[in-house]
């Protein structure tokens, strides 16, 4: 029983941290630049393809990850300079239309370059097995690769916290999120700051896509479903807040994993297995949105609003 609870909790943590990598970039772009970027999920997909292609070419997952993340950062830079810079001052409708077009372009481009079949990545050989350690007199197993993902996620979260909460650039970012005009008036080069934030967000997307590649599949359209969850996260956490994104990601990750694991089991007491699974998974996906509605009811600005 301890094994089951701990394993599911780690699964929730792992999923939450990966959501955080996506939500961090999204919340900054939305919060600071007031720009709705629906194509954030496409950066995740393209990043994953970059990592997969580089990993296959270099025959090393880690080199592939580094090259892929760098490639996505460059792509983010090009996109920001060529397109997003023109969108910041437009209304939300134009932003939604333009970035939705980007999703379609990205999906078709990936299909044209890499083909329609999914790429199945393998984790590095050394991490393909489980890690075993004693726990309350029992042996506890957990996949090594998932532990590494958790470690990377925690490291990035800590780094981001230090960057945003303790550094000068972070201060500008927070100031920009709280009041853009005032920050500009104080002489901060907001344009360069925007570019840097966008590029950083793109790199985090690729990092998440690359790390999840061996657990999921690198395929066309992988960004859309995860984008919706990332938006839920930043709305729960408060738009523009890194702390909110972290807390929101962990809540959504845990609720989703536990809901998926526990609800069918609970319903199983009264229903046959297939009906319990159908109802359970439907309820589990509703659960996240119920949670969001509940939080918005008590805290309309999210848990940690950036513009307090």
């Amino acid at each position: 029983m301890t094994q089951l609870i701990l394993e599911q909790a780690l699964n929730g943590l792992q999923f939450g941290l990966m959501l955080f990598l996506l939500a961090a970039g999204l919340t900054l772009v939305f919060g600071i630049m007031d720009c709705i970027n629906l194509a954030h999920g496409s950066l995740y997909m393209v990043g994953a393809y970059f990592v997969a292609a580089a990993a296959q070419a270099a025959d090393s997952f880690w080199i592939g990850l580094a090259v892929g993340v760098a490639g996505a950062a460059v792509l983010g830079l090009l996109l920001e300079v060529a397109l997003f810079r023109r969108l910041y001052r437009r209304d939300h409708l134009s932003q939604v239309l333009a970035t939705f077009a980007l999703i379609l372009i990205a999906n078709e481009a990936v299909r044209a370059i890499w083909g329609p079949a999914a790429i199945m990545l393998n984790p590095p050989e050394a991490l393909a097995g489980p890690v075993a350690f004693p726990l309350f007199g029992e042996e506890f197993f957990y996949p090594a690769y998932r532990l590494v993902i958790i470690a990377v996620g925690l490291a990035v979260a800590t780094l981001l916290y230090l960057l945003v909460a303790k550094s000068r650039v972070g201060m500008w970012v927070r100031a920009g999120a709280a009041n853009r005009e005032m920050t500009e008036a104080l002489g901060v080069n907001v344009r360069a700051l925007f570019t840097a934030v966008f590029v950083f967000g793109a790199a985090l997307c690729a990092l998440a896509g690359g790390l999840l590649g061996p657990l999921l599949a690198v395929q066309v359209g992988m960004g859309e479903s995860v984008l919706i969850l990332a938006f839920v996260v930043i709305i729960i956490g408060g738009i523009g807040s890194i702390r909110g994104a972290l807390v929101g990601s962990l809540i959504v990750g845990t609720v989703d994993t536990l809901g998926r694991a526990l609800l069918p089991t609970l319903l199983r007491a009264t229903l046959p297995a297939d009906a319990a699974a159908t109802l359970g998974s439907a309820l589990a996906s509703i659960l996240i949105y119920l949670l969001m509605a509940g939080i918005l009811f008590f805290k309309p600005q999210g848990l940690f609003p950036a513009r307090a």
């Binding site: 699964n11 999923f15 999914a118 489980p130 061996p214």
Partner: protein
């Protein structure tokens, strides 16, 4: 009123009058994108190989194959089927991988009196009460491969089994088939979302039941991820994996590699089967595509051979539906799986074999045939089929 009847009769006679077509059109709709794409691609490649060996002809008539991707989406498949039937006016349809898609697209095809030769999906519905003269399955009924595994697991004396399968018609057929022959304890049936790729939550649940055997039916990318994650979670030490051939064939083996070794699985066909047709098929498939064929490829290949033989039988008069149906039922082609015949519900009566994944003489990780589980095995639903 008499006049109308007369017109109707005239129209019917016109439609009924058989003439030889100048070419045969086949509508091929399959899953060619996403994690399920490997299956559709193999069926397509097998089909095309047979066609190439016949010089691009089916029954001595030039063949035109129209290929479309259903994206594993029932609505997309329905639209494609409509286009095939109304605009392209195809003579045959084939290619669908997943049973939920088959059940969605089927009614329009049968309504139009077009023969559908299933090279994969074999839902229980079309074997039993909803059986149809225009539906043939050249592969198997969904339950069959699962029944074979169930029998083997039962015979080997496993006592505590967990079943993992996607929550869709094919998955339910899998559980029904497995449990028809496995009579021991099933600790839990875990139903996942069709197309799910992360099994962390389910594997934690599996561990808590401490099963001695796990039976999983997860075709395509689902199975690839499941086996990798199963081994990564350290479950392979205490739990023996069993699967139908779908979840342990070349597509999955190639993607997963060494962790696949030792998985027992069932199939009606294997690439090491010793008959002349199969040897030619396996050799030429490897030459053409540079990889070993999977059971899906053998099914696509057989589907093309079946159309070829039937069209030749009716001398190209494919408009004579009754004659064409008889010709299809007669099964005059030589299948790469060896001999089999069609039951009254248009599903095969055939042998099922046990295979195990291991290293072959050349050091490749692949399937090896171990023995026969069922001889001349029919499906369980044929009794519900009222078709004559």
């Amino acid at each position: 009123m008499p006049l109308r009847l007369a017109t109707l009769a005239a129209v019917l006679m016109l439609a009924g009058s058989a003439y030889a077509a100048d070419k045969i059109k086949v509508g091929f709709v399959s899953t060619l994108s996403g994690p399920g794409a490997g299956l559709g691609v193999d069926i397509r490649d097998g089909f095309n190989l047979a066609l190439k060996q016949q010089g691009g002809k089916l029954g001595d008539l030039p063949a035109e194959i129209i290929i479309a991707d259903d994206q594993q989406n029932p609505d997309v498949a329905k639209q494609i089927a409509d286009k095939f039937l109304k605009k392209d006016k195809v003579d045959f349809m084939t290619g669908i991988v997943f049973s939920n898609i088959m059940l969605a697209a089927g009614p329009a095809v049968f309504e139009n009196k077009t023969f559908y030769i299933s090279a994969n999906a074999g839902p229980s519905q079309y074997a039993g009460e909803q059986c149809n003269p225009y539906f043939f399955n050249v592969a198997w009924q969904n339950d069959n491969l699962h029944e074979a595994v169930g029998k083997y697991v039962q015979d080997k004396g496993f006592k505590n089994v967990v079943i993992v399968t996607p929550n869709y018609p094919g998955g339910k057929d899998a559980v029904a088939g497995f449990k028809r022959y496995y009579k021991g304890k099933v600790a839990e049936e875990i139903y996942t979302k069709l197309g799910q790729l992360d099994y962390a939550a389910e594997l934690a649940q599996v561990r808590s039941y401490k099963p001695d055997a796990l039976f999983f039916f997860l075709p395509g990318g689902m199975g690839i991820n499941f086996v990798k994650q199963f081994v990564a979670a350290g479950l392979s030490r205490d739990t023996q994996l069993f699967a139908p051939g779908f979840s342990a064939d070349e597509d999955v083996i190639k993607a997963v590699g060494a962790p696949m070794m030792g998985i027992f699985n069932s199939s009606h066909w294997a690439h090491d089967m010793d008959n002349a047709e199969n040897k030619r098929f396996v050799a030429e498939f490897q030459k053409e595509y540079g990889r070993l064929p999977s059971l899906y490829a053998s099914q696509g290949y057989d589907a093309a051979l079946m159309m070829d033989a039937a069209v030749r039988d009716v001398k190209g008069k494919v408009e004579d539906k009754a004659a064409l149906q008889k010709a299809l039922e007669a099964k005059r082609f030589k299948s790469v799986r060896g001999d089999f015949k069609f039951n009254t519900n248009h599903y095969p009566v055939q042998n099922y074999y046990l295979r195990v994944v291991g290293k072959d003489a050349q050091g490749r990780i692949t399937n090896k045939t171990m023995g026969t589980i069922f001889t001349n095995h029919a499906d369980a639903y044929v009794g519900y089929c009222k078709m004559k």
